[in-house]
Symmetry: C2
Subunit: 352 residues, 2 copies
C-alpha cells in the first residue's frame, strides 16, 4: 500500500465526481504512512472468521470537508468504541466507499491504528447517502453506526433501518460542523463475505496506474475501465449549491471536435447521477459517470468543475450487486428522486 | 407513588411554564401503574453504592410532544443499552427534570421497567437545554447521553462537554421528529450523592396537595412555595413561535384589582425566564417564575397561555446549586442570551 498517488487517481475516477477531494485523503495517507509505517493490504481469507472489520468513511459536504483538517484522534475514538461494544479490538479497516477521498483516507486511518486495510469496499464507487452500501443491499441489518467528530464527540446510532441511519447520521454530521468520521456497520469476516465488494483497492490502484507513462492517457483510462465516452467538449455551465450536507446541481458540456453540436447535461448530488443528451438518458446511477480532463485523463470532482474546462465524460457499469432489485431500490435513479426506469449504460449507448 | 394528580399539579407549578404538558405524563403514569403495578419511591440510602440510576426525560418542543404518543418500548430500549454499556441493568429511574411532564412521566417509565423511582431530580424545576442539570453543575463530566425515539432508533452520545451534549441531542431529536426519550448521564448511587437534587418528587406532591380542599388555593400555593406574587391580572398578549425544537416568545399580563395600571412581561424559552415590569427585572432564571390561574392556582404551561386568562404570576428561589458560579454559568440569564447580572428574586422584590 505504498503507491498512494496511483490509488488516489483511481479513487478519483471511481468517485464519479463525489466522495471528497482525493488530495485531502492522499496527504493524510502519505503523512500517516511516514509516521506510523506501511499499511498491509489483506483479503478476507487472511483474517480469522471472527475478526472485526470496521468500514470507515468521512461523511459531510465535500466543500466543507475539503476545508477542514480531521483531528488525529477520530479513528482511535471509533476503535475504542468498537472495543467497548464488542469486547475486542478491530482487526482491520475497510473503506466504506472506494470513490473519492474516502477510498484513500482509510490508508491513513489504518496506519494510525496500526491495522491492515481490507482490499474491499462497500460501494465499488461513491454514493452520497449512508445506507447506500453493499452491506445493506446484501441484507445485513443496518444496525450500528459509530461517528466521531473533529472536537472529540462520539455518537453511536442503532437505527431501525438504513434510511434512519442516513437521517440520524446526517443530522449528527450537520450538528458537528458538516463533517465527521463514521463507521457504518462493524463486520466480522464471516458477515463480510458476500456483503462487501472485494478487490476494489487493488482495482483503484490499477486504474490509477493505467494512465502512467502513456501518450494517450484518455484512451488508456477508457480501456482500463471498459468505459463508453459520452462526450468530449467544454464545460459551459456549472450550477451547484450546498444544502443539508449535500452538494446538488447540474453541469453542461458542449461538444467540441467530432462532438461539435452535441450537448450533455449532468445531474449532480455530490456524485454525477444522470447524463442527459437531447432529453435522452445516456447513463444513470448506479452506473458510474466520471468527468475527466481530456488531456491528462485525471478525474474532476464535482466541486472542482469550472467553466471552460476541456473535459471528457466516461460511463461504465457498476458492480452487479447494484443492478439487483434491492440494489436499484437503494441506489437506483428513483432513490435520488429521478422518475426513470434504470437501464444499464451498455444498453443506452455504444462504445464511442 | 399513587397520588399522580397531586404530583402532576406540583410538577406543573415547578415547570415554570415548560417541561411539557403534565397531562401527557399523568395519563401515561396512571395507565402504566394500572398495567404494571405501583412504583416504589426510594432514596439514595435505599440503594447499593454501585446501583445504576438512569435519569430520564422527554426531549423536544412541548407543542410537538403534546401531540405525539410515546411508544411503550422507549424506556426498555434505553435500559437495554445501559445494560449493554455497563454490564448490569439499571436499579432505579430518576426524573432529569421535575418540572412539567418530565416530572410525572418517569413514574410511567419506572412502572414499565419494574423499577423504583428515586426521590430526586436533576433540576428542581424545568430547563430547556440538556446540559442544564445538577449533575453537570456538580462537576460530573457530561459524558453519556442515550436517546430512544418513537420508531425505535437508539442513539448513544459521548459528548466532549455539556454544550455538545445539548447540540448533538437536539439535532438527533429534531431528526427523530422533534421528540425522543433521553437518559442524560447514567449515575451510580455513589456518583449521584451531591449531584442530584434530593426530595423533589416528595416536594412536588406536597405542592400539589397544598391547593386541595382549601377556599384559597392561590394563598395556599403561595405559602407552600414561599413565593412572591409578581402580579395578578389578565393575559393581554402572547407571542410564541416554535423553532429548532424550542418554543420562544413573550407574554404580557395587565394588572387588575389592586394591580390595576401595572404591566408584567414574561420572556419565554420553553420556560418563563425573565419577568419585567417598567423595564425593571422582577425575577429571572434560574429562580422559578410560574403563571397560575388566579382562581384555581393551577399552573399554566407556556403553550396553554391564551388571551384573556385571569392569572397570577408567582416567583420563588431556585435550589442553591443554581446560584453557584457554575450554576449561573450554566443556567443563569446570560446562558439564555440576556445581558443581565443575576440577582436573587428575594432581593429584587418583596412578598406581595
Amino acid at each position: 500500500m505504498s503507491d498512494i498517488p496511483a490509488l488516489a487517481r483511481g479513487c478519483a475516477v471511481l468517485g464519479t465526481g463525489g466522495g471528497g477531494d482525493v488530495r485531502t485523503g492522499s496527504l493524510a495517507a502519505i503523512r500517516a504512512i511516514r509516521e506510523h509505517g506501511e499499511v498491509p493490504l489483506v483479503e478476507l481469507d487472511d483474517l480469522p472468521e471472527d475478526a472485526l472489520i470496521v468500514p470507515l468513511s468521512g461523511i459531510g459536504a465535500p466543500t466543507v470537508s475539503h476545508e477542514m483538517i480531521h483531528s488525529a484522534d477520530e479513528p482511535g475514538r471509533i476503535a475504542e468504541e468498537v472495543e467497548r461494544l464488542f469486547g475486542r479490538p478491530p482487526s482491520a479497516i475497510m473503506s466504506s466507499e472506494i470513490g473519492g477521498s474516502n477510498g484513500v483516507a482509510p490508508v491513513a486511518w489504518a496506519a494510525q491504528l496500526g491495522l491492515p486495510l481490507l482490499d474491499a469496499d462497500g460501494m465499488g464507487r461513491a454514493f452520497p447517502e449512508v445506507q447506500m452500501v453493499s452491506m445493506y443491499v446484501a441484507g445485513l441489518p443496518a444496525d450500528l453506526v459509530i461517528m466521531s467528530d473533529i472536537v472529540g464527540n462520539v455518537v453511536t446510532i442503532r437505527p431501525v433501518d438504513g434510511l434512519w441511519s442516513e437521517r440520524l447520521a446526517r443530522a449528527v454530521c450537520v450538528a458537528a460542523g458538516s463533517t465527521a468520521l463514521m463507521a457504518d456497520y462493524v463486520l466480522t469476516t464471516a458477515r463480510a463475505r458476500g456483503a462487501v465488494i472485494e478487490g476494489t483497492v487493488t482495482r483503484a490502484i490499477e486504474i490509477g496506474r493505467a494512465t502512467e507513462g502513456t501518450a494517450d492517457p484518455l484512451g488508456a483510462l477508457q480501456e482500463s475501465l471498459d468505459a463508453v465516452r459520452l462526450i468530449t467538449g467544454k464545460l459551459t455551465d456549472v450550477e451547484r449549491r450546498t444544502t443539508g450536507g449535500f452538494v446538488r446541481g447540474t453541469a453542461t458540456i458542449e461538444g467540441t471536435g467530432d462532438d461539435r453540436g452535441r450537448r450533455l447535461t449532468l445531474e449532480l448530488q455530490n456524485e454525477n447521477l444522470v447524463a442527459l443528451e437531447d432529453g435522452r438518458v445516456r447513463a444513470m446511477v448506479p452506473d458510474l459517470i466520471t468527468v475527466v480532463d481530456t488531456e491528462t485523463a485525471g478525474a474532476i470532482q464535482t466541486e472542482a468543475l469550472r467553466y471552460g474546462q476541456r473535459v471528457t465524460v466516461l460511463a461504465w457499469p457498476c458492480d452487479p450487486l447494484w443492478r439487483t432489485p434491492k440494489g436499484l431500490d437503494t441506489a437506483g435513479p428513483r432513490a435520488f428522486g429521478y422518475d426513470l426506469d434504470y437501464l444499464p449504460v451498455e444498453e443506452l449507448t455504444t462504445h464511442g
